[in-house]
Symmetry: C2
Amino acid sequence: MRFEPVTIKDIGKALGLSTSTVSRALRGSHEISSETKKQVLEYAEKVNYRPNPIALSLKERRSSSIGVVVCEIANNFFSQAINGIESIAYNRGYHVIISQSHESYEREVVNVQHLASRSVDGLLVSLSSETTDVSHFINLHEKGLPIVFFDRVTNEIITHKVIADNYKAAYDATVHLIHNGYKKIAHITSATFLSITKERLEGYKNALLENGLPFNEQYVKYCSHGGMVAQEVEEAVFDLLKLKHKPDALITASDRVTVGALIALKKLQVKIPDSLAVVGFTNNNIPELLDPSLTTIRMPAFEMGQVATELLIRIIESKRPITEFETRAMQTEFIIRNSSAALTVNKN
Amino acid sequence: MRFEPVTIKDIGKALGLSTSTVSRALRGSHEISSETKKQVLEYAEKVNYRPNPIALSLKERRSSSIGVVVCEIANNFFSQAINGIESIAYNRGYHVIISQSHESYEREVVNVQHLASRSVDGLLVSLSSETTDVSHFINLHEKGLPIVFFDRVTNEIITHKVIADNYKAAYDATVHLIHNGYKKIAHITSATFLSITKERLEGYKNALLENGLPFNEQYVKYCSHGGMVAQEVEEAVFDLLKLKHKPDALITASDRVTVGALIALKKLQVKIPDSLAVVGFTNNNIPELLDPSLTTIRMPAFEMGQVATELLIRIIESKRPITEFETRAMQTEFIIRNSSAALTVNKN
DNA sequence: TATTTTTACGCAAACCTTCCCGATAACGAT
DNA sequence: ATCGTTATCGGGAAGGTTTGCGTAAAAATA
């Protein structure tokens, strides 16, 4: 009772034609008489013939599918990015195969091997926060597998990359806080080696220095699991508030960290923004409904997914090997709300 | 410079063996001498041989992949469900191929055809809100393609189904509001024909009747696009507040509707819960950070994804055709917060 | 009419793997 | 000496499709 799709061979047998004739008729070759063509087309329509994509893949050595490697799906940023990926891939006739690294290096390696052996035509990758060694990608890339990195990228591989302008985002957020009177601005961020971490840290640091404020190492906390472990964010918040000169403002990088920090602050009953102003990187869909409404930096997740996919398909479908690669930095959206309201009262 | 993986034929040529011998040696057949076996295994290891899964799929007529059809990925419920799906599928060696219907019937049909022709081994489906005709699934199901429905199901197809206990969830929410003193409880929900809509409506209605309250048609608003169109939710809220006897409480079904309603209420500056109490179905991860904190019904999304996938794989891998199917109703989580606080002051 | 061109189609290989058979040789059993 | 077993391996088909090449008949040209 297994699913028995009709093949080109069945059509040939039914019509007394060879498979090659049927195949050619189906793709409208000029060397097939129009009546034969018509006959085949009609019969194929009647029996609802669909070419077997697996056989096609075997023949063409391509699978019309692209693999996606992200740390997790159930995350505002990534689910929106995947939405963008799917929107383009679908229109171009590609399937999207998803895998999650759960921020684990081993898991990432296994997933990538899995996808590669599955003959995906290309890979869309956002690195896990544990990944320092990217040789598993280098191997595949050298063998000619198209790869495009997005969000969390590596500069050890020369290919297209799509990132948000994290430097500017962090810079602007910091300047905003400074202008609103905050002077002791802390930063809770992701794993040290991640590209996004470095970019944001740089923007934060430069904004401080350019405005005559010191950069204080103590005010920067790294969450090596990217906030996957709730405790690490809580500890970071706790440590900051324990400091002798506790910060009066906080910039949280990444969705998870932002959420974790807000929950921790709520638990500790810290008044926002009176005791601590907060600006968060987040793609949450209802920041204005939070209490207080949250000043946010929103990543152009959907667009990043779209652009990355377009670039990937461009590589896949290119006749000649591509030598010119670009790194697209896309603009974030900075929306000021109450959690970073201007400092009014004097605080110690 | 295209990716050239080593095949069983290459190994055979290199070692002076036939492909069949190599194949058998690779899977440890007893009819291959142990030295030949050793030789082959070592060489395969050396050249990093990986069986071509596409050729395998063609031969075995299975692809080790399962297709997922949901209305959208960038949605708390579905992204969490997909997470559950992926967690099981990954461990059982299946790939997950995702497609979105965007609540469109046509898109759903196309996606399903696409996935089926792509030889997925089975389908995990949550119906679009436009879908009333499920013959595209019936066709495939009759041809033997395993399908498991989750969340939004149909009773026109007899197979495994995984749902949340929506009846109980809506019932409990309604009773909770009644106990807190609310008497005019409205309900903004999804498209009429959706199973979840009916189940929830039933729970809501019975809770009213059992507590001696009238069921008022005017208090039920359907969003035919499931909240994808922000305007429809806003209008529903608006219509409810325009009523002569305007409701004093509101139950919103589905994530999108809840979010849309809260935004509309915020815009209209309706005080929650003083002017209107709210209980929302949502899988938002920070309901306690909302203003006011939101009383929620949380769907067991991750678990639903897991269970659905397990049931699907059970069908796929079953030797004999399965005749006994189950509908698993999983418990939701009801968390009471401030948005449905007990009525204290008297209101008209 | 003889020759070339065109038309319309079939054959078979290729993509990679598995597996049913058949082949061969060695060997013990009858 | 003949036969059946067992061990070890190769041949070839099958799975569905595309495509280069070959070839027959029909049509066009000389």
